[in-house]
């Protein structure tokens, strides 16, 4: 029993040249993701703080079309995560052409998400009159927090699409290894993960039935 316990501890914390049994790129991406997660957490907590502190917080999202539209965006982003994981899987099994196809599909999902998001922003800005500094409901913090949160997330998606484009070209030319695809996958899944918190907190909590 005691031996088994010692063995477990050794397996968990065994040091050596590679204490986490992964390459430096992957560890670097994990560290970046954790720091970025803290940025988004601070923004989401600030949003929740203001939401609770404001008695007449606007609820501009009608179930149809706003929530259905945001649900479609969630579906697109979740599906792009599936195609990304398939790309990593293909690359791990040495199927480069297949991996490129999956990465391109992921990029298409990302681009579709950005287009849908831009359409939604246009609707809010042009038709509802919401800007980062003013809105018809006289709660300017709504626009400020909404555009800051969703804007930062959309920036991450755009950067992700560009990053995946570079990876797809590299994989197609035989330059990148499976680890490189996996690292880009980590970033893409993180972007998806953040949306899993923005969608309910920002959209579903401000729904207007």
């Amino acid at each position: 029993m005691a031996e088994a316990r010692t063995e477990t501890w050794t397996a968990t914390w065994s040091g050596g040249a590679s204490p986490f049994a992964m390459n430096s790129k992957k560890l670097g991406m994990w560290l970046f993701i954790i720091s970025d997660a803290l940025t988004f957490s601070a923004l989401l907590v600030a949003y929740t703080y203001l939401r609770l502190a404001t008695p007449n917080w606007p609820t501009p999202f009608h179930f149809s079309p706003s929530i259905l539209f945001a649900s479609l965006m969630t579906f697109v982003l979740l599906s792009s995560s599936l195609t990304m994981v398939m790309g990593v899987h293909s690359m791990n099994h040495g199927r480069r052409r297949s991996a490129v196809g999956w990465i391109l599909a992921t990029m298409a999902g990302g681009a579709a998400f950005v287009l849908l998001h831009a359409t939604e922003w246009r609707h809010l800005i042009v038709e509802e009159g919401v800007t980062p500094f003013a809105n018809p409901w006289n709660e300017p913090l709504f626009g400020a927090t909404f555009f800051a949160l969703t804007g930062l997330h959309m920036t991450h998606v755009i950067v992700g699409v560009i990053y995946l484009g570079v990876i797809a070209i590299g994989v197609g030319r035989g330059k990148f290894k499976p680890e490189d695809v996996e690292v880009s996958g980590l970033y893409w899944h993180f972007v998806d993960l953040v949306w899993m918190f923005i969608f309910p907190l920002v959209y579903l909590m401000s729904v207007h039935i």
Partner: protein, 103 residues
Amino acid sequence: METRSATAAAVTTKTFVWVWVALLAMTVVEVLLAYFHVPLLIMLTALMGLSVIKGSLIIAYFMHLKFERFSLFLTLFPMLVFCILLLFIFMPDSFRLMEMRPR
């Protein structure tokens, strides 16, 4: 290192599809909660609970953390959760602000 990569690579695509289906199903539940307009506190608790489960599935399966060394999890996540919990120290103040508003 090979053992860990091999474990992650051995996961079948079927597992990923099941995780994706579970994530979609939980999203549908979230949307239904909003549609039926359940009380705010119940809704916030349910939505955050579902989001944490969804996030955990993404991290464990899509980001392969389940197949990494446990030391990586211990190094990164308790610190992250602790820092996020620290952010909530400000939260009671939001209720105080609401009470202070002129009616």
